[in-house]
Amino acid sequence: MGWRIRVVHETGYRYAAPVHESYNEVRLTPRSDNRQNVIVSRVETVPPTRSYRYADYWGTTVTAFDLHAPHTELAVTATSVVETADALAPARSATWEELASEPIRDRFTETLEFTDYVVRNRDLSRAAKALKRGKDPADAVLAACRWVREHLTYQAGTTGVHTNAVEAWETRKGVCQDFAHLTLLLVREMGVPARYVSGYLLPRAETEIRQTVTGESHAWIEAWTGGWWGYDPTNDIEIGHRHVWVAVGRDYSDVPPLKGIYSGGTAAALDVSVDMTRLA
């Protein structure tokens, strides 16, 4: 049985000098699909703006807004209530032969290619081959997730937003973004289509109803082995009723939660806070 979760995500910028013009896009709106139902979702800003919503290439709901009055702080609050579902078993219908076939490789070409974050690397390519040996595609993906979990230590502050998978692997440390990118690297190296998922995770498995906990903006992966299914390499868990997904893409650059440009003084990111409440 799934949960009903309220997510309140606050983020933004503080500027050293008043900013007269700023243009922003936020990707903080969860989407409904077969395993998630979005009951309500809104994005608000301070100072208030007239926002414009559209669905981008990946289907993500984007909220765009611009500000023309001088301001020294921009706060964005995204509030959503989402019904989640229990974990989905990995799809196992595709064989290695099918994954290697031209129609499949062409259909999923974008989720098979390497990117600025998911960079090709000889050592990791060898690691992927070794992990793949003797397993069916779904098990190989799971093996990759576990391998990443074993080889990376979760540590905030060691990597930045622009760190790519190989750099994170070299330091053996990272955050969920790095875990996801490194997993994508291995899985794509195996020839399995894989994509980056951004969303939220309610951290405590035994959260009670009406209880609010501090959550975090989270990232995990989805692989296609006859159907799309997700796995969370950071925590080595399946995607279950504690996960709320917002966007998918080839890597982080397709799903940035907040991006913008402005004219004026230097900006510092506001403290990000994600409050998650289990409603049912």
């Binding site: 243009y23 007239r50 414009y52 981008d56 062409d106 070409t109």
Partner: protein, 557 residues
């Protein structure tokens, strides 16, 4: 194509026989054409547009030939100087490796017969329509991919496939407001498409200025036959831009967005803006607020409905593309998505310029239009297909190797002229990135007499016609830009590679309305676009500028 005719055409003085209906191959030469058809010329295989292989003058060139042939070399030199001076006086130059040079306009026009043009025009219209359907499809549901006519990988791997343009639907459906379809004429005289330019094809200002200058220096040439006018290009462009605006806008505001005076095509931007009677703006003159684009004017803000931008996609919107760009307008893409402004040409058109995509245009024509291509492509080997790649690697020394994103004559390797090390390096590059390369057999471009020193000699030419789509129909400007390779034997016609240009004459059909005629009975004034004196024209102009800029960006990426 060997020549039965004696190598030299004897010079004769002006003779009345020239007027007789039957062509007179042997007696029809002049000092100017001395040695033109020498069998050992480096162009022997090429199709000459003025002369048949046996030395007879082709019928549509007859009037021109008869007018030029008796001219004394000295007289020609005087006229040619007048041409050069006209350009220098107007300040129309192009920059070659950073140096300002006068733009070389050749004195001998290139002539296209009415029947030939009618075929070309149909072929260009068909091509633009197919490419329009293609762009609308790949930035929408991509049915051509779903139906397995084209592989998805072909599109997603294009450098200029912009996912940010996905779902951005222009109100009247037009994405290719202006197209420049580059044509060459092969050894058999068949026009073939060399490449499509759907982003910001430049050079139309040359077409208009060439005509204006020719009409001033050679008014007598125009009196001999009916040449179709090119001066009304801006009228067609303005109509297309106005009809691109959202239907609710009764009187849309159109602007021309230029990167600024330092851009080598600034002259063209200012000329088009002036002829259309619209504002010429830079990025800093525009801003978006709540997804509406405004222009800062002395009378306050004015809403802009259509932006004819001459800035590349990558610099257009710092929010979506290069965040460091100061040339563009932040938020303009979302304004277009919201339907409040139209960007012309549309964002993401570069997919159609990709030379690998080019090889699939015949498939597009049959898929979207259910027709057979009227204009053939140049035969092309695709390095991303294994068997064709093997062929290319095998026979690289006979082929012309081109980067799929390259344009303006950059990055091209002529196999026959390349050294061993160059070929080896090229093979390595192909193996490293097969998607990035195509190869074509060396096409001996057609030749047209061109003044070099005090003689007329054959030089290779290509043709870039300009097509304007207003949503109801595609207008093709009669003629287009003929570029000529001035160095002997050169097949590279880009101005950036030492090329010049020619006025291009499309002859009016026998029964066409008089109004179409350039310099008809209405006199010289028809040819001159109404406008201010030439002294106001900007400094630089080069055909290859757009492509050069794009290629540099490609290098950065």
């Amino acid at each position: 194509m060997t020549d039965a005719h004696p190598g030299k055409i004897r010079p004769v003085t002006r003779a009345p026989e020239r007027r007789r209906p039957e062509p007179a191959p042997t007696g029809d030469g002049s000092a100017l054409f001395d040695g033109y058809l020498e069998p050992d010329r480096p162009y022997a295989g090429a199709f000459d547009e003025m002369f048949h292989a046996d030395g007879r003058v082709r019928s549509h060139y007859r009037a021109l030939h008869d007018a030029i042939a008796p001219t004394a070399a000295a007289d020609l030199a005087v006229r040619s100087e007048a041409l050069d001076r006209a350009y220098v006086d107007q300040g129309i130059t192009f920059s070659l490796s950073g140096q300002e040079r006068p733009f070389p306009l050749d004195i001998v026009p290139r002539v296209i017969s009415a029947a030939e043009w009618s075929r070309l025009q149909k072929g260009i219209v068909q091509r633009v329509q197919a490419l329009e359907a293609f762009l609308a499809d790949i930035y929408g549901d991509a049915e051509i991919v779903r139906d397995e006519v084209l592989p998805r990988r072909l599109i997603t791997s294009c450098e200029h496939y912009h996912r940010a343009a996905h779902g951005l639907n222009p109100p009247n459906g037009v994405r290719i407001h202006v197209a420049g379809i580059d044509l060459v004429r092969d050894e058999g005289g068949t026009f073939r498409v060399l490449e499509d330019n759907l982003r910001n094809p430049s050079g139309v200002s040359y077409v208009m200025e060439n005509r204006r200058t020719m009409a001033r220096v050679f008014p007598d040439l125009f009196s001999r036959q009916r040449v179709r006018a090119v001066g009304d290009y801006s009228t067609h462009l303005l109509r297309a831009l106005r009809s691109a605006a959202a239907a609710n806008e009764a009187d849309p505001t159109v602007v021309v967005l230029t990167p600024g005076v330092f851009n080598s095509a600034y002259f063209e931007h200012s000329l088009l803006a002036r002829q259309m009677g619209v504002e010429l703006v830079e990025g800093r003159d525009l801003f978006c607020r709540d997804n509406v684009v405004y222009m800062r004017t002395t009378e306050g803000e004015q809403q802009v409905d259509v932006i004819y931008r001459r800035i590349d996609d990558e610099f257009l919107d710092p929010l979506q593309f290069n965040p460091r760009s100061v040339l563009g307008v932040a938020g303009v893409l979302n304004a277009a998505r919201a339907g409040n402004v139209v960007i012309a040409n549309a964002v993401g058109n570069g997919v159609g310029d990709d030379k690998l995509v080019y090889t699939y245009v015949p498939e597009m024509i049959s898929y979207y239009l259910g027709e057979k291509p009227l204009l053939p492509n140049v035969d092309t080997f695709r390095c991303w297909l294994d068997d064709e790649c093997a062929h290319v690697l095998d026979r690289l020394d006979e082929l012309v190797l081109k980067p799929v994103e390259g344009s303006g004559g950059y990055g091209i390797l002529f196999g026959p002229n390349a050294s061993r090390t160059q070929l080896a390096a090229a093979r390595k590059e192909i193996r490293a990135d097969p998607r990035g390369w195509i190869a074509q057999p060396v096409v001996q471009l057609s030749t047209v007499p061109t003044k070099v020193d005090d003689r007329l000699v054959p030089r290779h030419v290509d043709l870039r016609p300009f097509a304007v789509n207003d949503g109801d129909g595609v207008f093709v400007l009669p003629g287009g830009l003929t570029r000529v390779a001035l160095p002997k034997g050169s097949l590279v016609v880009n101005s950036s590679q030492g090329g010049g240009s020619k006025d291009t004459w499309v002859l009016a059909a026998q029964r066409s309305p008089e109004a179409e005629r350039e310099l008809g009975q209405r006199g010289l004034a028809v040819a001159s676009p109404a406008g201010s004196p030439a002294a106001e024209h900007g400094p630089e102009l080069t055909i290859g500028q757009q492509q050069q800029q794009q290629q540099q960006q490609g290098g950065d990426a």
